[in-house]
Amino acid sequence: MNAQSNPGAPSIYFMAEVSDKIETHTLSVIVDNEPGVLARVIGLFSGRGYNIDSLTVSETEHEKHLSRITIVTTGTPMVIEQIRHQLDRLVPVHRVTDLTVEAQLASQDKPLERELAMVKVTGTGEKRLEALRLGDAFRATVIDATTEHFVFEITGRTSKIEQFIAIMKPLGLAEVSRTGVAALQRGPEGL
């Protein structure tokens, strides 16, 4: 018989710690880019009552018609494991990777996560100058301007974008468009 078995212990096999703590995880889902595939994914989330904090999708391998969906979701570890398996069960899904778990396994804080936002700020005088100065400080680029407005393009972690938007509020924030999170694993390996 195998030496590793330990029948006395309550958990003996690759089981994660039981925890009811709500966690935020970033999942990467590689799918066939075919009609309805996104509806399958989001229908799964709404039908089973899972959360979507952010969802990004685009074809990433044109020759193979593969798209990459990046989903940021929250739930207990048991729910997140369920989400992963439920996604994997969809026929056009090639692979589901929990980037947050992968990062933890590699002793990293988080996977690489970036999002892009376009932020329109209107105003004149001192407020307008202040907006421009802060845009500089956040390494935002001005991509459109008149004497009465700027449109900033800003890239970064979600927290940085949130902060930038909050700061722009009193300076004449008019409109925001965000891409949602794109994410990759750190290191030389690909999925």
Partner: protein, 591 residues
Amino acid sequence: MTREMTGAEMVIQALKDQGVETIFGYPGGAVLPIYDEIIQQDGLEHILVRHEQGAGHAAEGYARSTGKPGVVLVTSGPGATNMVTALTDAMMDSIPLVCITGQTATHLIGTDAFQECDTVGITRPCTKHNWLVRDVDDLARVLHEAFYVATSGRPGPVVVDIPKDVQFATGTYQAPTTNPAASHKSYRPQLKGDAQAIRIAADLMSKAKKPIFYTGGGVINSGPQACQLLRELVQLTGFPITSTLMGLGSYPASGDHWLGMLGMHGTYEANMTMHDCDVMICVGARFDDRITGRLDAFAPNATKIHIDIDPSSINKVVKVDLPIIGDVGHVLEDLVRIWRASSLTADKTALKEWWSQIDKWRARKSLSYRPSEDLIMPQYALQRLYEKTKDRKTFISTEVGQHQMWAAQFYGFEEPNRWLTSGGLGTMGYGLPAAIGAQVAHRDALCIDVAGDASILMNIQEMSTAVQFGLPVKVFILNNQYMGMVRQWQQLLHGNRLSHSYTDSLPDFVKLAEAYGGVGMRVHKPHELDDAIDEMLAVDKPVIFDCRVANLANCFPMIPSGKAHNEMLLPDEATDEAVANAIDDAGKMLV
């Protein structure tokens, strides 16, 4: 083999190449080209139903009784939406179903055309996968893929939606590939279980003092070989075994180690054994809420081993200690081999003690009921039906409700695939079409729908199908004039206020049978029952058997919802003595 043909021809050719002999369907505008091919060929039998839902359940009955996929052909719009219940039913119970729907022509899609609906959108959450085929050159490939997806891994229903212009268009037909598993891009179910995990399972089992096998529909889906291996493993280990509603028949009810069904209306011994066990081997079951009862008190001291082909079944509701992902048949084969090769033995002393405890639970006789000389007790009716039919090749289907639970409790299944019931979705109206589907596949067998007076009316129109195709199904109605299970819950939960659970104007079932061209029978008294059942079995036509039973009998034992396995309500503790007294007309008025 590649050939030029129309889309409609491809449908027929693909079905034949997939070994399909029978399809269930209903024509309509958007499938006329396919129906035009059906009438011009031999070899593919079409059973015309009376309602698309009936086609779906008939195909489920066909699939469940044969192990082969059931095939349905319906039109667009209402044809497709009428299929939704059957698709959901098949999804919940993992029944392989291939449903072909017609669709309005591609240039009309999205215009709210006549009989247009978003079939793939509507059926997306109730199918394993679905396809809208816009190009005739994709059609053959998609149809073959549909069969592969429906039947492999955890089986389930699939839909192929074919616009009418694609049915008319000419394209290239491709024969099925010899190895669809290897050629599929993304869908590859895992069949072999992890060898290390199986070894650990064997080790856990050999050290168990209070083990139990908890088996489910997955054993039956895996095939007769899996059932044989399960029986072998039970014999080798000497462990007790229970099963879910869906798994009945995988281990014989007459077997020495059989505890009866578990769960809400399972036996006392099955539920107590589950509650007190130290090692639970869950084989192809999914810890449904009707099985577990109160989750935080579910088998609190057990090390749980879970064998399932679907990774999403693992840890869905109950955290298990040892998951083994794989096909039940493959995993059991390895488990039996390892058990033999390592000369493992069960802990005989502990097992002896365990069995003597189980015998004490058995002695409570949790399925007992108070017999009556005046009234047919529903349990008695099923016991007599069982005695009269057990030596024949019999398939039992059911509707949903008290009669379903009594059938599960009192009809002993010796073989897999003989028991057809709607477990997960609980679809009233399932039983008659399912019996028809089984009868189509097994012309010489006895196919009985154990029904309730309420459920049977949900798909009664299929009597017409049975008569047309000479399918001598027997509808055995336990008629208590109530939606019995609804009433039981109202008694338990709603202060006996029986809101709309009494059916005031039931049809005369004898005349109804005759109106359809079948035979109707009615029995009121227990002493008439045996002869009447004999008479029913002798008729080579569809029969509706109106068995008038004690109106207020309730289904026990029962785990009230929100209670644990060891908090069962037993028949001798449930005050059902009112049953025998309350059935007179005056009593009915008071209800």
